[in-house]
């Protein structure tokens, strides 16, 4: 090989070791991130599944505590039969919350939706008097950040909850 077998590639032991340490730290962080993601910190897992009920037990919610923006999420509201008035159940959802999401679908379909004040009122038929009514709101979060919401049936105490939306 002629004049000597040293190949200079600009290798520097100190810098190399520093780079390795940085890489290892990044890997550990990535592993931690994925574990937290699996646990549901970024939506859709045990950390994210949440429920809340009104103090009088009439309204109960199931929702995601953590949601990713522009991806689907469901808010499920269960209303006890004693909230029915003349065969109707009226469910109010705070306007402030509805402004941050797009409501894709409401199942069952409300008979009518009335606006006004600080809440939108969805009116449902309550044909079966003994069973609770479960309403599913298919939502898509459109504004990132922390949102507070209030859901309540007419004649019952409201439920408050918060939801965090990632960008």
């Amino acid at each position: 090989m002629g004049g000597g077998n040293r190949v200079d590639v600009g290798d520097d032991p100190v810098r190399r070791r520093r780079e390795w340490r940085l890489e290892r730290t990044a890997w550990a962080l990535a592993a931690l991130l994925l574990l937290l993601a699996l646990a549901g910190l970024f939506g859709g897992g045990p950390l994210s599944w949440a429920g809340a009920g009104s103090p009088d037990g009439v309204v109960h919610l199931s929702y995601d505590r953590f949601v990713r923006g522009y991806s689907p999420t469901t808010l499920e509201v269960s209303i006890a039969p004693q909230a029915a008035r003349e065969g109707r159940i009226r469910l109010g959802v705070s306007q402030e919350f509805l402004e941050t999401v797009a409501v894709q679908n409401v199942t069952p379909q409300p008979l009518r939706v009335v606006g006004g004040g600080d809440a939108l009122v969805y009116e449902f038929a309550a044909d079966r008097a003994e069973q609770p009514l479960t309403v599913a709101f298919d939502l898509q979060a459109e504004q990132t950040g922390l949102h507070r919401a209030e859901v309540g049936a007419e004649g019952a105490q409201p439920v408050r909850f918060w939801q965090f939306v990632y960008p």
Binding site: F42, G43, R68, Y70, S71, Y166
Partner: protein
Amino acid sequence: MDPVLRTLAVYAVLLVVFRLAGKRSMAQLTTFDLLLLLVVSEATQQALLGEDFSLTGATLVIVTLVAVERTADFLRWRFGWFARATQGRPVVLVAGGKVLAEPMARNHVTESEILAAARSSQGISDMAQIDYAILEESGTISILPRSRSD
């Protein structure tokens, strides 16, 4: 949780498909292979993200993919059986100047492909000048020329 699990599933599917397709499937990128690759990635994208248009979702998918690939690399380095299972082993196509018909046929390699590899990597134009030709795990063909003293 969702994007991480989806990514793991897609990675597993791709790994199995391309492992079973053989070493040669994507090693030499012809125009059509490139098109196929684009279509595959297009089909994969739906499975990975679904209706998720968020930055967070995309970040999770990317981090998962890189982490899985790094983990697979580590497992290949640590466990020989894992490397063999996911990558296979190199196959000798020409040994001591002799073309081996069976491995050539099994891997669908022709003599002209070996000569093409010899020309581009070694500047060799003749089969007689080749000592060994090996189909590597990556799907490329490496050529060991016959030394001049032979």
